[in-house]
Symmetry: C2
Subunit: 212 residues, 2 copies
Amino acid sequence: MIINRSQIEEMDKRYRANFINSLPGYKCLNMVGTISNDGITNLGLFNSVFHVGANPPLLGMVFRPDTPDHDTLKNINETGQYTLNNVLPEWYAQAHQTSASFPSGVSEFTPCGFTKHYIDQFKPPFVQQSTVKIGLELRECIDIALNNTKIVIGEVIHVIIDFVLLGADGYVDHIKAKTVTVAGLDSYFTANVLGRLTYAKPGEVPSLLKAG
Amino acid sequence: MIINRSQIEEMDKRYRANFINSLPGYKCLNMVGTISNDGITNLGLFNSVFHVGANPPLLGMVFRPDTPDHDTLKNINETGQYTLNNVLPEWYAQAHQTSASFPSGVSEFTPCGFTKHYIDQFKPPFVQQSTVKIGLELRECIDIALNNTKIVIGEVIHVIIDFVLLGADGYVDHIKAKTVTVAGLDSYFTANVLGRLTYAKPGEVPSLLKAG
């Protein structure tokens, strides 16, 4: 079955949102923690984080123009800092609940059952329950004229992680971390290892990498 | 354990690449199919596709400055078109193999065991073995001065998909599609359903959405 651009155009708005959001596959799932200059915290659920580069360590994410992302983006612009926190299966429904339209100025931490974790000389809160916590500083905010979204790029400044999750080669084990992934807007998944493969070279069949 | 920016700076290059690439969690995994104006096809593996918007339907991806992504990006600039194709467990090692440094001008399709699938009035090949095939047209290419990467944004023009994968509400079922996900540069995973949750509203506990 081929679905073409004009058929996508004719889709009902919610149908199209489900379709396009779920189309490319499983995505990074992170709760974003921020704080305003007035000291009001915010916690929001995002599924658009992507890798931009390792040196300097940069991650990107997308902000939509017409959603309650606004407190998150406003706070990032105010303090220049934000946190990314992974989601675990035991409380993924609570993480989903942070995407509800709480009034601006109301922190999602308490009503959704999350505990704030602060570190010295870094303003926004991490989520204590998360096993992989990333603190970032804003480096660039790019306006996408095509649809009035913004791409925010941040530099990784702090990582809070148990050393047992970290392989000898730097690899973060998301099976041990129990990280949840997402497809579309509302479907959550755990992962099973297929395999870790050796560096690909022409003419050689990739083989399974032994655990470091 | 807290790892800070200066410790990241001091990491060995490969260690840092593993660490930062695997840090944010599971990512979209897609093979990108392209063709040059001379008719030479290319197939490359990418883990940086992200959702930009549903209306118009836009997907973004990142191109690094110093890698064999070059044929892919060159071809996208020549024809203005490219395809995204999901990866299945039965042949994920073959998909990994498309990331090997084949000489420029050598198509990865045949040596890696993939079959080209063409549709009318669209230049680049899809991967016949994939269950979710997306055809895109280039809309914007953004230079990221921070690290000399480029973000390419494309508009979804064609989707080739079996109707059994498509829910009544537009949701694409990646469990049925057998889509593989990736963490870091080389670790592949299948997914297990945790649950699909109802639209989040303040003061209401999210519940499991019944299958459409």
